[in-house]
């Protein structure tokens, strides 16, 4: 009996592991503090704020998708409603001079998200899987369309705005300059990340994983999967509301785009590209997607197409996302067999890059002829100038694309062989791959 208990309960963490665990959070806090000292320009502060908001939003989304296995197409509802309520709250607090400082205002957004998740969640989470995905889409459309009808509250197409500096000041912070907003977002990001991490370690978090993996057995154990899904949905709505509130504070405006399908799609992209299998995945995804959308939109007019193609490529080739891809190599690194696969990666990288370059070239040339056919054919995409009318460019695109594809297919089978070899060697060393 005592053996059973010993094997069921995890061993008490050693001091070194505890130090590593808490050290990681403290390091994250210090990094957030130091970041604006290293990159202090207004543009980078705005970017960091957007990333922080996106991190909270993506992590809240992952409570649904990654932890509980519910694919939602309407998560922006809770984000957007949180944002709208916060704008109204700031206006009311400002007019009535209520003693509420700005740093606690995001909590209002969180509670709004929670309230609506409580209201809409019970119906939405009745079914899981594909039906849940469709229901979330329908509910999102319902809310987004209603927002355009209730003009007084949602401000119609233009949205509603507020002045964040008119609130009670603590320590003489007006929250006018972006640096103060950055620190506000950073603090809330840290709090929300810690809270959401803690949630995954609670019994509820574990039951969520169980509902994701095998709802039938959860029922046998005596839990109602619907209730577990509902609770996860409520928590997710709460954190999404906080993210929406921070976004509303950052932009000082809330409009119907906050609630829309595009916003729901973006958070899905960020979470999935980052990787739903690990807690850190959505954080990586939020950083990656924010940089990507800011960077790509400067480089090419059709950045959203590339965005969609990257997402499709991740779904097809790397269902674990970026973190899943990296974490796959951890056992190899431990066993020291990583050197077996690296050369084959380098070989496969060249034709793959050629194929992608050809594809980009083909897309950009096509875009030139369909979007602005009358313009000068010397175009610039990704910082490179070329002549879209030149047949050489067309030929080059075709050769790179087709040739790259044929060679890449060959080299990726080599990668597969090298991978199999490396993992079997890892297994022989007794490390689970």
């Amino acid at each position: 009996m005592s053996d059973l208990i010993a094997s069921a309960a995890p061993p008490y963490p050693a001091a070194a592991e505890k130090f590593k665990f808490y050290g990681l959070w403290i390091a994250a806090a210090i990094a957030l503090l130091v970041l604006p000292k290293l990159f202090g320009s207004g543009g980078s502060l705005t970017t960091f704020s957007l990333i922080g908001i996106s991190i909270i939003f993506s992590l809240s989304y992952n409570i649904l998708l990654g932890q509980t296995g519910m694919l939602s197409f309407g998560h922006a509802v809770y984000y957007g409603l949180g944002g709208f309520l916060v704008i109204h709250a700031i206006n009311i607090i400002g007019i009535n001079k209520l003693p509420i400082p700005l740093p606690v205002v995001p909590l209002i957004g969180g509670l709004t998200g929670l309230l609506f998740a409580v209201l809409l969640g019970w119906v939405s989470t009745q079914r899981s899987g594909t039906a849940f995905a469709m229901i979330s889409l329908g509910v999102a459309e319902l809310i987004a369309s209603s927002a355009l009808i209730l003009r007084t509250f949602f401000g119609g197409e233009a949205g509603i705005s507020a002045n964040r500096t008119k609130l009670l000041r603590v320590f003489d912070w007006s929250f006018g300059p972006q640096i103060q907003i950055y620190y506000l977002v950073a603090a809330w990001t840290l709090i929300a990340v810690v809270a959401m991490y803690a949630l995954t370690r609670t019994p509820l978090g574990r039951m969520c994983n169980a509902v994701r993996d095998n709802p039938e057995r959860v029922q046998f154990v005596g839990y109602d999967p619907h209730v577990v899904r509902y609770l996860a949905f409520c928590f997710s709505g709460f954190f999404a509301g906080i993210a929406g509130a921070l976004a509303a504070i950052n932009f000082e405006i809330a409009n119907s785009a906050y609630l829309g399908a595009a916003q729901s799609g973006t958070v899905l992209f960020a979470t999935y590209i980052g990787g739903v299998g690990f807690f850190i995945g959505p954080i990586v995804g939020a950083i990656f997607v924010t940089f990507l959308s800011l960077g790509l939109s400067d480089l090419t007019p059709v950045w959203q197409l590339y965005f969609g193609l990257i997402f499709i490529a991740v779904v097809v080739f790397a269902p674990g996302g970026i973190t899943g891809l990296l974490m796959m190599h951890r056992p190899l690194l431990k066993a020291g067999t990583l050197t077996k696969v690296l050369p084959s990666y380098l070989i496969a990288f060249v034709p793959t890059l050629a194929m992608i370059t050809g594809l980009i070239l083909a897309i950009e040339v096509t875009v030139h002829y369909t979007v602005n056919p009358g313009d000068d054919s010397h175009i610039k995409a990704f910082g490179v100038n070329f002549d879209a009318a030149s047949p050489y460019i067309w030929a080059m695109a075709a050769i790179l694309m087709i040739g790259g594809f044929l060679v890449a297919r060959k080299t990726w089978t080599w990668v597969g062989h090298a991978w199999d070899e490396a993992t079997s060697m890892t297994r022989e060393q007794g490390i689970a791959a």
């Binding site: 079914r127 229901i135 329908g138 459309e141 007084t152 899905l268």
Partner: protein, 315 residues
């Protein structure tokens, strides 16, 4: 009033049949492959734009034939080279793949045909009023749309009930694994079903294109309604999809033609509330809330009958 009812019923049935053209393909694909094709409405859009382009080059009638074939071929290719690869990663990955595809198709359509509506006209042969009821001219093209969708509906019914392929498809609706065990090439059936399903959506696109607006956001507008149809009808139930298509078609068409509002029924709101949100609710007409009617219906169905109207399977 009678005029309104007759015209709205005609339009509602028409819209419902169009919805069913798409919902039928979506339902069969879902039942067989287990994946809800998020990009289904995108194939409807592709059908409309292919139809527009081909009718410019060769005229409307070749377009009616070629555009669905093209879209169907693309659909079959998507199944063969995309979905089948993703299949091993589970249903969520499949759904996400089609979601990404819908996103990419919308972007590509925007790149090629632009964001503004294209000038897709009713063919001159059908550009005349078919009949006049109560002083309203009912266009012949709409009757043609109705005819096409009814013919396809009948053909689909006969194929499903009377032919061997229909038998296999029907068997695969309830016992997909057994069909495989019986030695049918399940992969090819899947590809075929996906191709035919997307081609049906494209037919709907070609015939709806001239009557409605052919624009790059048409998939985004119609897609959610389509999913409401299949959820309300019951996921995987073909008769359910039919009932739900007609229901939503009628509900939306009737709602659009009604002008009633709370202020109309109970008199205007007192001026004290004129600037509050209550005024919005009071003043909104039924026509204005027509776009949200399908979603209200969805929520109601979920509360009272979570399986859908005729659904049996829980997913």
């Amino acid at each position: 009033m009678l005029e309104l009812i007759v015209i709205s019923t005609l339009n509602g049935v028409l819209f419902g049949m169009l919805l069913f053209l798409m919902a039928s393909g979506l339902t069969v694909i879902f039942s067989m492959l287990g994946v809800l094709n998020f990009a289904h409405a995108s194939f409807y859009m592709l059908g409309a734009f292919f139809g527009f382009q081909i009718s410019r080059w060769f005229g409307f009638w070749p377009a009616l034939l070629i555009a669905p074939l093209l879209a169907g071929a693309i659909g079959a290719g998507v199944e063969r080279y995309g979905l089948r690869r993703v299949h091993k990663n589970g249903h969520v990955a499949e759904l996400l793949f089609t979601f990404g595809l819908a996103f990419a198709i919308e972007e590509i359509v925007q790149i090629i045909w632009g964001k503004s509506p294209v000038d897709f006209r009713v063919p001159p042969l059908l550009d005349f009023p078919a009949f006049t009821i109560f002083s309203t001219n009912y266009p012949a093209y709409k009757m043609f749309m109705l005819l096409v969708s009814v013919v396809i509906f009948a053909a689909l019914l006969i194929t499903l009930k009377k032919t061997r392929i229909g038998l296999i498809v029907q068997a695969a609706l309830t016992h997909p694994h057994m069909v495989g065990h019986l030695g049918h090439n399940v992969g090819r059936i899947f590809m075929l079903v996906f191709g035919v399903g997307t081609a049906l959506a494209a037919v709907a696109g070609v015939i709806a294109g001239p009557a409605l607006v052919t624009q790059s956001n048409m998939a985004g507008l119609l897609g959610p309604i389509l999913f409401v149809v299949v959820v309300v009808g019951g996921l995987g139930s073909l008769p359910g999809a039919f009932v739900a298509s007609l229901l939503i078609g009628l509900v939306q068409t009737f709602a659009v033609s009604m002008n009633g509002s709370l202020s109309g029924a109970f008199g205007p709101l007192s001026p004290d509330y004129a600037t509050t949100w209550l005024a919005d609710i009071w003043g909104v007409t039924i026509a204005q809330i027509a776009p949200i009617m399908p979603y209200v219906l969805l929520v109601l169905i979920l509360i009272f009958r979570p399986m859908g109207l005729l659904g049996t399977r829980d997913t």
